[in-house]
């Protein structure tokens, strides 16, 4: 990547081609129109250059022309909208088989947690040709996780989980930037994403220092913080059981129902009174300030593991299990 003049970014993920196609389409249409109008203005400026003081004949306008240059650009703009919306829509929801990785941003670093316990700072190692889903939050201000070569970016907002996903298609090392201004060392909140062949990825995983898995760490926290006292597996405790809760709808005291996803669990741990489960009173204290963002992700990971429905997605790449490819998009082979 030396200092050569590079004018276009690497393209290393399945969704990048769709984004670039939209880009080139709009650029092409724009160049066509800009050239047309500029040439018309230039031609008029030269052709009708003032030669005498005689006043030119007035022209009032033309309804046909006005309608034409209102409707035609409108239709073209709608085509552009549709193109962008389709690609965006497709890139919005991760496939269920996506491998999960967890990111916590803080001023000014990116902390990465893999479900199997491997941790990284300002780096992200992923295998090629597998859908990867990032679940992200931040300990302080808003950051934004940006990998230009994948054409993906998502703001990481305090107090909630943001997710994004991508499927790398080209082995290599790529930039990771924080795109949302986050304070003094904003431009230092950068790192690298390494896309590796499956075998290399396995070697990297086994070579790295690995503590307990996120699920194990979560279980330990679950017991240490006393959650297990009330949230008993057999549902005899003072709080509702957490077995088979994740991914299921939960009936609330208010009569409403809510999907038990990461965001709901997070809120219930930090502000138990926000959404009370039907049939229970709020006796649980808030855990705000008593558990780190990473700890929260671990506890949620553990709760997730108690749910049979959520099992497959939580399994990391310990052994490369056969994952169905998410979309029949054309993939360039690794390397």
């Amino acid at each position: 990547m030396a200092k050569d003049l590079q004018l276009f970014p690497d393209s290393a993920a399945a969704g990048a081609a769709g984004v670039d196609a939209n880009y080139f389409f709009i650029v092409a249409v724009s160049v066509f129109f800009a050239a047309g109008i500029s040439l018309a203005i230039l031609y008029f400026a030269l052709r009708y250059k003032r030669k005498s003081e005689e006043m030119p004949k007035p022209i009032h306008g033309s309804l046909i022309l006005e309608l034409g240059w209102t409707v035609i650009p409108f239709l073209i703009a709608m085509v552009m909208f549709a193109g962008g919306a389709v690609v965006f829509f497709r890139s919005y929801n991760p496939p269920p088989s996506a491998m999960e990785i967890f990111i916590v941003g803080k001023q000014w670093m990116w902390k990465t947690q893999h479900p199997n316990g491997v941790r990284e700072i300002n780096e992200l190692h992923v295998p090629v040709n597998r859908a990867i889903k990032l679940t992200m939050t931040t300990e302080d201000v808003i950051h934004s996780y940006y990998i230009p070569a994948f054409r993906v970016k998502k703001d990481v907002v305090p107090g909630q989980y943001s997710t994004m996903w991508f499927e790398p298609t080209k082995v290599g090392k790529y930039h990771l930037f924080c795109a949302e201004y986050c304070g003094t060392q904003h431009s230092g909140m950068i790192g690298s994403v390494y896309v590796m062949e499956e075998a290399d990825y396995e070697a990297w995983l086994s070579g790295s220092v690995r503590g307990e898995t996120m699920q194990q760490a979560g279980e330990r926290l679950f017991n240490r913080l006393g959650c297990a006292t009330c949230h008993k597996a057999d549902n005899t405790g003072r709080g509702p059981t957490l077995v088979d809760v994740f991914g299921q709808p939960v009936k609330l005291q208010s009569g409403m129902s809510v999907l038990a996803d990461e965001g709901y669990l997070r809120e219930s741990i930090l502000r138990p009174s926000a959404k009370t489960v039907a049939g229970y009173t709020v006796e649980m204290p808030t855990f705000q300030g008593q558990i780190s963002e990473e700890g929260l992700l671990q506890v949620i990971g553990y709760i997730k593991s108690l749910s049979k429905a959520a099992q497959p997605a939580a399994t990391p790449a310990a052994k490369p299990i056969e994952t169905p490819k998410p979309a029949p998009t054309a993939k360039k082979g690794g390397n």
């Binding site: 022209i59 003094t184 431009s187």
Partner: protein, 553 residues
């Protein structure tokens, strides 16, 4: 500034040159500081905005110097962050938003509608004092340590984490906002109530229509940013938690409130400039404008649509995908009225009688830059692409093309065009044309490379950056030097022209419009007798070929 005539001027007959005018009547500093004359207030604005632009330009220079090398070597990260914040705050709140309305609008709207002043002359003066108070606070916060939040003041960084002068800066923007609101109010009432006999709505110059639309945005949008800044202040000072998630607040709420104003604010910057361009194109083509009502109504359409596109700043913030869809489609639609204007301007030139005076060169420059800015806006409106380019230099390039390339090109073109009217003096034509060319070339060299940088992924507000971005950054910085020359040159020759410039006749371009029927500079009361308007705007040639006659020049 003595413009009293002691001898008759060359070609123009004497009746137009009275013994005194708005500049000579009333001497001394107090006669200026307590003036209620819209023309004098316009000049006060002109001086203060020019002073602020030197400051904003200074910070721009610091930014471009720092970015010549990939490492952070000229400034510390902290100083760099403060430099781009002050650059943004000064340029947006104290130059781009007020420039055209407060200087040209203030001077011309009463005259163009045939009135002696704005509806509320005292409130007009109050606007200027509010502007000065806001600017003074912004300067004070700069001296007292500076502010490092970016001009966008995003929470929770601004409300909880930043240790810089957020409060005073926000208060400065808050106060300056009221100057904007009052100016908008003044314009709306003036246009409604003070039009001369015969000056029907559809005889108004398009400059007035554009300002009318702008004023609507100003009075409806600006209070929202004022409230938002108050919320940030309450949170910082008293520990409220509107935006603090730890206490149940929502940091994204701030972004909705902020952009609900700040996106329409872009139209506050560009609409008046579009109004100027309509005047320039008709005058220097000597043609009635093509599609008058379409240009007028497209201004109103832009003002209305402008209020419902703010969500396109939040495509990656976690806003619902369906909200994103709606904002995306509306953002594509707001491009249409702008396109209508450009087509009509081009059609106005068809079979015209076109001259290349300095203001027209600025108008040509406006076309080029606004086309690029507007069309790249389509790229930003596309959801899939915006995910990639959001918060990169692509966005930086795009909004500079619109706000500076469009907004300031229009302002400079208008300033040249009406300079003889405002001061009674001509600027040197060759220097004027040179400045237009410098600005156009310098601008493109500065900002075009930033599109490429942005698509490659260089994030904005980066003090240091990876090496592969250097060549384009060096191009951009060298362009900025050319651009600076283009802006400094007019400051020199405008000042020079005040003392040595040729005296200007009442209508140096043979232009239509009430402002050209009164002396240059105009008398304090604008019109000695109330004008009665009997023709359409831009009636350069009478309907009947035979009866037209050439006046002046």
């Amino acid at each position: 500034m003595s413009a009293t005539l002691t001898h008759p001027t060359e070609t123009v007959p004497a009746p137009e040159q009275p013994s005194d005018n708005y500049i000579t009547r009333g001497k001394g500093v107090m006669s200026w500081l307590l003036t209620k004359d819209h023309k004098r207030i316009a000049l006060l604005y002109l001086m203060s905005i020019t002073a602020m632009s030197l400051l904003g330009g200074f910070f721009a220079a610091l930014i471009r110097l720092e970015l010549i090398t990939p490492g952070g070597d000229l400034l510390s990260a902290e100083s760099y962050n403060k430099a781009f914040t002050m650059h943004g705050v000064i340029m947006v709140f104290f130059i781009l938003i007020p420039a055209t309305p407060a200087v040209l609008g203030n001077f011309l709207i009463p005259i163009m509608v045939g009135a002696r002043d704005l509806a509320f002359p005292r409130i007009n003066l109050l606007s200027w004092y509010l502007y000065i108070a806001g600017a003074a606070l912004a300067l004070f916060s700069m001296i007292s340590g500076g502010v490092d939040t970016g001009w966008t003041f995003y929470t929770p960084y601004s409300s909880t984490y930043s240790n810089s002068a957020v409060m005073t800066t926000a208060l400065g923007a808050f106060i300056a906002g009221f100057a904007t609101i009052l100016t908008g109010l003044n314009f709306i009432v003036t246009v409604h109530k003070m039009r001369a006999p015969g000056m029907t709505w559809f005889r108004l110059p398009l400059f007035v229509w554009a300002h009318y639309a702008t004023s609507l945005v100003q009075i409806l949008g600006t209070p929202v940013i004022a409230m938002t800044l108050v919320l940030v202040a309450l949170e910082r000072a008293l520990g409220f938690s509107f935006f603090n998630p730890n206490n149940g607040g929502d940091p994204i709420l701030f972004q909705h409130l902020f952009w609900f104003y700040s996106h329409p604010a872009v139209y506050i910057m560009i609409l008046p400039a579009m109004g100027v361009i309509s005047e320039l194109v008709t005058c220097f083509s000597r043609k009635k404008v093509f599609g008058y009502s379409f240009i007028a109504m497209s201004s109103v359409a832009i003002a209305v649509f402008g209020f419902v596109v703010w969500g396109h700043h939040l495509f990656v913030s976690g806003q619902s995908i369906y909200a994103g869809m709606v904002f995306s489609i509306l953002s594509f639609m707001v491009a249409i009225p702008s396109a209508i204007k450009v087509f009509n301007w081009a059609a106005t030139m068809y079979k015209g009688s076109i001259s290349y005076d300095t203001p027209m060169l600025y108008a040509f420059g406006f076309f080029g830059l606004f086309l690029v800015g507007g069309l790249t806006g389509l790229i930003c409106a596309s959801m899939a692409i915006d995910i990639h380019i959001h918060d990169t230099y692509f966005i930086v390039a795009h909004f500079h093309y619109i706000m500076v390339g469009g907004g300031i090109m229009g302002y400079m073109g208008g300033l040249h065009y009406w300079w003889p009217k405002m001061t009674g003096r001509r600027y040197p034509e060759l220097a004027g044309r040179l400045s237009a060319v410098f600005v156009f070339l310098g601008f493109n060299l500065t900002f075009f490379p930033q599109f490429l940088l942005g698509y490659m992924g260089m994030p904005r507000r980066y003090h240091a950056y990876p090496e592969e971005f250097q060549i384009l950054n060096v191009m951009s910085s060298s362009g900025a030097a050319v651009l600076a020359m283009g802006y400094i040159l007019p400051m020199i020759y405008f000042t020079w022209s005040l003392f040595k410039g040729k005296k200007a006749p009442a209508n140096p371009y043979g232009a239509k419009g009430l402002e050209w029927e009164i002396p240059s500079p105009p008398p304090t009361e604008n019109f000695t007798t109330t004008p009665i308007v009997t023709e359409e705007a831009y009636a350069y040639a009478s309907e009947d070929e035979e009866t037209h006659e050439v006046k002046h020049v």
